[in-house]
C-alpha cells in the first residue's frame, strides 16, 4: 500500500493507486492539520491529486522524481479556480 498514513502525515510511496483515495480522504477528514509527504512518490493518479487540491494539506516534501515535481509543484501551490469559461458548444 503506497500511501501510508500515520498520526498527522500521509506518506506517498512510489506508484500510488486510485485505491488509496478512500483511506486518504479519511485521513484528510480526520486529521486536524494533515501533512503530506510526497518525497518518494513517483506516480500520482488524478483522484489523489484531486483530493490534495481540495483539502490543501501541508505538503512537507515534494517528489524527488523531477518530472512529477515539475508539474505537480505549481499545481499544488496555486489556488485552483472555479471553472469560469463555458464549455464550448459542440
Amino acid at each position: 500500500m503506497p500511501v501510508i498514513c500515520n498520526k498527522s502525515t500521509a506518506r506517498f510511496e512510489e506508484v500510488c493507486s486510485i485505491e488509496e483515495a478512500l483511506p486518504l480522504l479519511e485521513f484528510l477528514k480526520m486529521t486536524k492539520a494533515p501533512k503530506v509527504d510526497l518525497r518518494h512518490c513517483s506516480y500520482l493518479p488524478t483522484a489523489l491529486l484531486q483530493l490534495l487540491l481540495l483539502a490543501r494539506p501541508h505538503i512537507t516534501a515534494y517528489p524527488e522524481d523531477a518530472k512529477l515535481a515539475g508539474w505537480l509543484t505549481p499545481m499544488l501551490q496555486n489556488r485552483l479556480e472555479r471553472d469560469c469559461v463555458p464549455i464550448a458548444a459542440s
Binding site: L54, T73, Q77, R82, S90
Partner: protein
C-alpha cells in the same frame, strides 16, 4: 520479460480461445445473450489487461472488436457470418501478436498498420457511424474567446516564444473528464501529461468543489486544459479512448496576447490559501526543514540536464516554486532576479539559478533532520507487509511448470523400478543367508511399498492427465473455415471430450487429428448436390469421439461422406508403383483402403492447400506409431469412413515381457504381445525354408530370436518351443525364445551416444538387481 507479461501471455491465450469458441457458437445462435456477454467479457478483459503494457496496436484492435461486440450486446446489430469472420480474423491477429510478444517481447513492425486497418473494418460495421471514435473529434473547433485566460502570463509567454520561433503550431486541449471516469480506469491528469511536449497544464474545478465531508473521492470534478505543440493527429491518438471528453483547438497566433511590457512578476498570483496559512507561521516553516528540503530539491532539478524543451518547461516550474516559497517565507521576491535566472536556465545555463538557490539556502536557519518520523513510518511498512501476507488467500488452483511435474514423475518412476529390487533381496536372504523368515518379512514390506509406489504413480499420472478437449476445441473453427471455403455443409459433432490422457499423448495428437479432419472434409464429404443425389441429407456430419478402452484411449474420426473406393485406391497404388497389379487385385477391399497409409500415396488428383500433399496419412501413422498407438481404418463406399486411433493412456512407464535367450534377458513391449504359447515340435510346419504354425485357425510365421539376434543356435531341437506371439504392424509373428520370464514395469531409456545408431532395440532399462535389460523393437528387428 516481466512477471506481469509472463502472466499476461498465457492468460490472453485463454481469453482469445474462449472468445473464439464463443463466437463460433454465436454464429449458430446469434440470439444467445449469455454467449454475447461471455465473448464481450473475454475481449473486454483482454483489452483491459493489454492496457498494462505499451501495446497500442493490440489494444486498439481489441477495443474496436469490443465496440462491435458491445453493439451486438445491445442488439444494435446481429452477428452474421461476415462479422464473425472479421472478428475471428482480429482475434487471430491478436493471437499472433501474443506469440510474437512471447518470442521477442514486442509487436511486429507492421502491427500498427494492420491494427489500424482491421479496426477500421470492424468499426465500419458498427451501426450508424457515431461509434467511430475518430469521427467524433472536433475537427474545426474555434478557440472560444477568453480560453487562454486560464493560463498565466509566463505560460502564455513561453507559448508565444514557441510560436515566434516559427516552429510548430500550438494546440489547445480542453479535457472535461466524465464524472465516473475513474471507474473506467482513466487517469486524466497523467494522460494529459503524456503530451510531449507540453507547454502548459491548467487544472480547474469543473463545478463548485464539494466540501471534503461530502466528497466522493471517485468522482472526477476537475477540468483540464493544456497547451502543446503536438500535432492534432498525435494528440487524437493519445486521447483516443477519451476522445469524446476532449476538445482540441488549433491556437491562432493572434489569440495569444501580445507580450505585456509590465514586469511579469507583478502578474504572479498571490499564494494560495494554505500557503497563506503557512506564511502566517513562517518561522516553523523555516525551522521545519521543509524549506531547506524544498530548496535542495529545486536545486537538484535545476542542475539536471535535459533537452531545450524540457529545460524551458522546468525553469518555468522552478521559478514558480521559488517565488511561492519566498512569498511564504515573507522574503521579498524582488530582491532576487528570479526571472532572469529562470530564463538563463531555460537557455541551458543553470548556473545563475543554482547560485540563487544556494543564496536562499544560506539564509535558512539550520534545522535538525526529521529522521525519527522516517523510522516510525518504516515500522508501519513492516506491519502492513505482515498483514498483507495474512490477507492473501491461497488460491485453489496451482499452476506448476511442467518440468517440475516431469521431474517428479521421473523420480516416482525410478522408485517404482527400484522397489523391484526388493524381491531379489528377499531371495538373497533366503538363498545366501538362509533366513526364510527374513525373506518373508522383506516380501511383506515390499507389498506395502509396492502399493504406495503404484498409488503415487497413479496420482502423478493424474496430474499430467489432460482432457481431449485440449485438442478437440480447435476443430469447430477448422471445420467451419474449411467447409465455408469449399462450399460444403458440415456439422461437427464431438463426443467424450472429457476423456483424459497423458499430456504428451494429447499434445502428440494435435497434428494427426488435423490431418484426419482435413482429409474427411476435403476427400470424404461430398458437395451438397452430390449428397442430395445420393439420398443423403445435405449437411454432412463429422464425428469426433473419444473414449477409454481398458488402458487405451480411443479417438475416432468418422464422416458420412463418400467413403473410400477400393478400386480407385488399387489403381492409384499400382500407378504410383507402390505395389504390383497382381498383388493389388488379391487384396481385400479393406486392405486396399489401408493402402492410403503407404508413404507417398495421395488420392487427390491435384494438390490443394487443405490436404492431399501425398503425405497426409503416412504422417498420421508415423506420428501415432511414435507414441505407441495404432491407426485402423474402416470404410464403406458411399457410407463413410471411420478412422480409429488407439493410444496408450500414458507413456512414462513401459510394461515389458521379459524373455530369456541364451542366458540373456530381453524385454518385449507388452502392448505388442498377443499370447505366449508352447508349440510342440510336431506342430511346426515348414513352408519352403520358413517355419510356421497354426494359431486359432490362422497361419503364423515363426521366427527364431536366436537367429535374429545372431546368438548361437541350440544344438538339438527341443520337443516343445516357447513361442511369444506378437503383433508387428499389421502382422502377427511367433517368436521362439528359450524361456518366458515375468512381466515388469520399466522406464525405457532410449539408446543414445554410441549406441544411438543400433537397430532393433527400443531402448534399455535397469533391472532391480542392477542388470541392464535390452528392450527389443520388433518392428525394426524383423
Amino acid at each position: 520479460m516481466t512477471t506481469l507479461m509472463q502472466r499476461f501471455i498465457p492468460e490472453s491465450r485463454e481469453y482469445l480461445e474462449s472468445a473464439a469458441s464463443g463466437l463460433l457458437r454465436l454464429e449458430r445462435d446469434p440470439t444467445d445473450q449469455g454467449l454475447v456477454n461471455e465473448v464481450f467479457r473475454a475481449v473486454h478483459t483482454l483489452k483491459g489487461a493489454s492496457g498494462l503494457f505499451e501495446l497500442p496496436g493490440l489494444t486498439r484492435l481489441l477495443h474496436a472488436a469490443e465496440d462491435l461486440l458491445g453493439a451486438a450486446r445491445e442488439n444494435q446489430l446481429t452477428l452474421d457470418s461476415a462479422i464473425v469472420d472479421l472478428l475471428l480474423d482480429a482475434l487471430d491477429r491478436v493471437g499472433h501478436w501474443v506469440d510474437e510478444l512471447e518470442r521477442s517481447g514486442g509487436l511486429p513492425m507492421d502491427a500498427e498498420g494492420v491494427s489500424a486497418e482491421l479496426s477500421r473494418k470492424l468499426r465500419a460495421l458498427l451501426p450508424e457511424c457515431e461509434g467511430s471514435a475518430e469521427a467524433v473529434s472536433a475537427v474545426s473547433q474555434i478557440l472560444p474567446p477568453g480560453w487562454l485566460d486560464n493560463f498565466t502570463e509566463t505560460e502564455i509567454q513561453s507559448a508565444i516564444a514557441i510560436l515566434g520561433e516559427g516552429g510548430p503550431s500550438l494546440l489547445a486541449i480542453d479535457y472535461l473528464p466524465n464524472d465516473d471516469c475513474f471507474y473506467r480506469g482513466e487517469d486524466p491528469v497523467n494522460l494529459l501529461l503524456q503530451l510531449d511536449p507540453v507547454v502548459a497544464v491548467k487544472l480547474a474545478w469543473h463545478n463548485h468543489p464539494v466540501p471534503l465531508a461530502e466528497l466522493d473521492p471517485f468522482r472526477c470534478q476537475l477540468r483540464l486544459r493544456a497547451l502543446t505543440t503536438m500535432t492534432k493527429e498525435a494528440a487524437e491518438g493519445l486521447f483516443r479512448y477519451v476522445i469524446d471528453q476532449v476538445t482540441l483547438y488549433p491556437v491562432p497566433a493572434d489569440a495569444l496576447r501580445p507580450p505585456v511590457a509590465a514586469d511579469p512578476r507583478t502578474d504572479i498570483e498571490p499564494a494560495s490559501a494554505p500557503l497563506a496559512a503557512i506564511r502566517a507561521t513562517s518561522a516553523p516553516l523555516a525551522n521545519s526543514g521543509m524549506a531547506g528540503r524544498l530548496l535542495a530539491g529545486q536545486r537538484r532539478i535545476a542542475a539536471m540536464p535535459g533537452d531545450p524543451e524540457t529545460l524551458r518547461r522546468r525553469s518555468v516550474a522552478l521559478v514558480a516554486t521559488l517565488t511561492n516559497l519566498m512569498h511564504s517565507l515573507d522574503w521579498s521576491a524582488l530582491e532576487f532576479d528570479l526571472d532572469g535566472a529562470g530564463l538563463a536556465a531555460a537557455g541551458g545555463t543553470p548556473a545563475p539559478l543554482l547560485a540563487l538557490i544556494d543564496l536562499l539556502q544560506a539564509r535558512l536557519p539550520v534545522t535538525a533532520d526529521q529522521s525519527p518520523l522516517a523510522m516510525t513510518a518504516d515500522k508501519d511498512i513492516g506491519g502492513l507487509v505482515a498483514t498483507g501476507i495474512e490477507l492473501r488467500k491461497s488460491s485453489r488452483m496451482l499452476k506448476v511448470d511442467q518440468a517440475k511435474v516431469d521431474s517428479l514423475m521421473t523420480l516416482i518412476a525410478e522408485l517404482v523400478v527400484s522397489k523391484n529390487s526388493l524381491p531379489f533381496l528377499a531371495k538373497r536372504a533366503e538363498d545366501v543367508y538362509g533366513s526364510r523368515e527374513m525373506g518373508r518379512e522383506i516380501k511383506d514390506q515390499y507389498a506395502v511399498i509396492d502399493r504406495l509406489a503404484q498409488e503415487m504413480q497413479r496420482a502423478i499420472l493424474d496430474v499430467r492427465m489432460l482432457p481431449v478437449t485440449e485438442v478437440f476445441e480447435r476443430f469447430p473453427r477448422l471445420v467451419r473455415d474449411l467447409s465455408r471455403k469449399l462450399g460444403k455443409q458440415i456439422e461437427l459433432r464431438m463426443q467424450g471430450e472429457d476423456t483424459a490422457a497423458d499430456k504428451n499423448i494429447i499434445e502428440a495428437l494435435g497434428d494427426p487429428l488435423i490431418h484426419l479432419v482435413r482429409n474427411a472434409i476435403d476427400h470424404g464429404v461430398e458437395m451438397p448436390a452430390q449428397r442430395l443425389a445420393a439420398g443423403k441429407p445435405e449437411c454432412a456430419t463429422i464425428l469426433l469421439a473419444a473414449f477409454q478402452d481398458g488402458d487405451q484411449v480411443v479417438i475416432e474420426v468418422s464422416d458420412d461422406g463418400k467413403g473410400i473406393d477400393p478400386a480407385v485406391i488399387r489403381a492409384k497404388a499400382v500407378e504410383k508403383g507402390l505395389i504390383d497389379a497382381a498383388r493389388a487385385q488379391s487384396l481385400s477391399d479393406q486392405d486396399a483402403a489401408n493402402l492410403i497409409f503407404l508413404p507417398g500415396f495421395s488420392t487427390a488428383s491435384e494438390v490443394s492447400d487443405l490436404s492431399g500433399r501425398g503425405v497426409g496419412m503416412d504422417v498420421v501413422r508415423t506420428a501415432i506409431d511414435k507414441i505407441n498407438g495404432q491407426v485402423t481404418l474402416t470404410s464403406r463406399q458411399g457410407e463413410g469412413t471411420l478412422i480409429r486411433l488407439s493410444l496408450p493412456l500414458s507413456m512414462a512407464v513401459t510394461r515389458v515381457m521379459m524373455v530369456e535367450i541364451d542366458g540373456e534377458l530381453f524385454g518385449v513391449p507388452m502392448d505388442g504381445v498377443l499370447a505366449t504359447v508352447r508349440i510342440a515340435a510336431t506342430q511346426i510346419h515348414h513352408i519352403k525354408n520358413a517355419e510356421t504354425f497354426v494359431l486359432r485357425d490362422s497361419i503364423v510365421p515363426l521366427v527364431r530370436l536366436r537367429a535374429l539376434l545372431d546368438l548361437p543356435m541350440q544344438g538339438e531341437q527341443a520337443a516343445e518351443e516357447a513361442v511369444l506371439v506378437a503383433r508387428v504392424g499389421a502382422h502377427t509373428v511367433g517368436l521362439v525364445v528359450d524361456r518366458f520370464r515375468e512381466g515388469m514395469d520399466v522406464i525405457l531409456k532410449p539408446m543414445d551416444g554410441l549406441l544411438a545408431g543400433l537397430k532393433g532395440y527400443a531402448g534399455s532399462a535397469m533391472l532391480g538387481d542392477g542388470r541392464v535389460l535390452l528392450v527389443l523393437n520388433l518392428k525394426e528387428l524383423l
